[in-house]
């Protein structure tokens, strides 16, 4: 395409946005509502992913050793554990050490249990090579001699994984559905603006304009609609995320889990929303054009 033609298309697309006034506003709104929801959903999905990976990396199997196990038996158990597939490392933590951890977390009241009263077990902290193998390692450890119990990374890990998978699946499905609806809404809105310009298109065809020449201004118009429609969602999602991040970070401070920090993450989300806006706008417009270009 010649530069002069592209320039014409650009000017024409802007002119058309202006000329179609309220119809353009309707199309913007369709994009805005969709992108608001998609932006919020994306933020949730990406943070759930982040926390999921935090949990996954955090997951380790705590193998509790029976009371009264001799040091030799303990060594034998360690060897057995190390022979398991998928085991990356094994760390020993005595019951004394364990009590210290408890006191550290829950307070000095637990100091009462120091010495012989300590009801805790000695523990092997076993790390699996891959997060998904944690459960298998725990199961096998449970069958071994001198093992009182084998627990993995927060007992709720399994449940959490389910929740994470659910959020990912449904979030993606809802996002896709929303995008589909947006394309439909935009293409319908643009279709109405095109209807009012049927005559113009007919004349363009009559004087020998190629289909792509006719289509370009409309596709650009759709892209602008998407771009401008993305602005409000960007502002809302950015401000909202910073606020929610501030709120939740305080309560997550005591855990190993962190939300994605706003800086780079928000830039990514913003770019993504702009791209989605532009693409659905252009596609919506292109789709609604087809009917009018049949010869």
């Amino acid at each position: 395409m010649k530069a002069i033609t592209f320039k014409r298309h650009l000017v024409e697309s802007f002119r058309s946005l202006k000329r179609n006034g309220w119809m353009s506003v309707a199309a913007f709104s369709a994009v805005t509502v969709t992108l608001l929801l998609v932006g919020a959903l994306l933020s949730v999905i990406m943070n759930v992913n982040k926390i999921a990976s935090d949990i996954e990396n955090d997951v380790q199997v705590r193998v509790l050793i029976d009371h009264g196990t001799s040091p030799q038996q303990r060594e034998a158990l360690k060897k057995k554990l190390s022979r398991l597939d998928n085991v990356q490392s094994i760390k020993f933590s005595s019951k004394k050490q364990e009590l210290k951890n408890v006191v550290g977390s829950y307070g000095n009241d637990f100091k009462l249990f120091a010495g012989d009263d300590n009801p805790l077990n000695d523990v092997y902290i076993v790390k699996a090579k891959k997060p998904a193998q944690t459960i298998a390692v725990a199961k096998e450890a449970r069958t071994m001699k001198n093992v009182y119990a084998a627990k993995y990374g927060g007992t709720s890990a399994k449940k959490l994984f389910k929740v994470v998978a659910g959020v990912q699946k449904w979030g993606t499905a809802i996002s896709l559905l929303l995008l589909f609806v947006a394309v439909f809404l935009i293409s319908n809105t643009i279709k109405i603006t095109i209807l009012s310009r049927r005559n113009e298109i007919a004349i363009m065809r009559l004087v020998g304009a190629t289909n792509s020449f006719i289509r370009w201004p409309f596709i650009l118009e759709g892209a602008w609609t998407g771009l401008f429609g993305a602005l409000l969602p960007i502002i809302v999602v950015d401000i909202g995320y910073v606020w929610i991040h501030g709120l939740l970070s305080a309560s997550l401070a005591s855990t190993n889990y962190r939300l994605l920090s706003p800086g780079v993450f928000l830039i990514q989300i913003d770019i993504l929303m702009i791209l989605i806006g532009i693409i659905i706008g252009a596609i919506g417009s292109g789709v609604s054009m087809r009917k009018f270009l049949k010869i």
């Binding site: 010649k2 002069i4 033609t5 014409r8 000329r19 005559n199 113009e200 007919a202 004349i203 363009m204 065809r205 009559l206 004087v207 020998g208 304009a209 190629t210 289909n211 020449f213 010869i295």
Partner: protein
Amino acid sequence: MIEFKRVFKEYDNKITAANDFNITIKQGEFVYVVGPSGAGKSTFIKMMYREEKPTSGQIKINKFELGKIRDRDVPFLRREVGVVFQDFKLLPKLTVFENVAYALQVIEKAPAEVKARVERVLNLVGLADKADTFPDELSGGEQQRIAIARAIANKPQILIADEPTGNLDPRTANDIIKIIERINKQGTTIVMATHNSAIVNKYKHRVIEIDDGRVIRDQKRGGYKDESNNL
């Protein structure tokens, strides 16, 4: 050059608008297509710029074989065929200059060339002084002259006119024909569908008469008596 060979056209409602058309029009000819309303004149005209496809038969417009032409090549056919309509089909929001320039911008001509050509054709139709006005500020005759200017801006070899004087009073119609004659003198083939017997009889050219989807007369320098006018 325009060539119709054994062309049939039947619409979905079973109406036969073209029944075995065999017509050859040489470059530079001026041809009137006459006949009553619904006879098939418009179908004949529309098939020339591929607005309608024939049911069977061959149509050749210059180097284009319309039976074989792909959809995406149709725009290139239309650049060689200028078309003028009874209802002018001007864009109301564009000025006279822009309306004519439009046809050239669409085929990606350089701005300097667009300007030069628009000025030239506006001069030819005698409306150079109206370049900055809008179509609805002009009379019907003036609007038709703009439409003609637009149709010839791209120097097509063929100019097709579908009832170009249908909406005009006799004097204005006369002016329009004079312009079309002038264009013809410059070597452009003219195919003009019309009811206007006064014009056909005054400016004598070849006459093709169509009735009920058939060519019933093809006469060099013929006349025409429009019976529908006498009803």
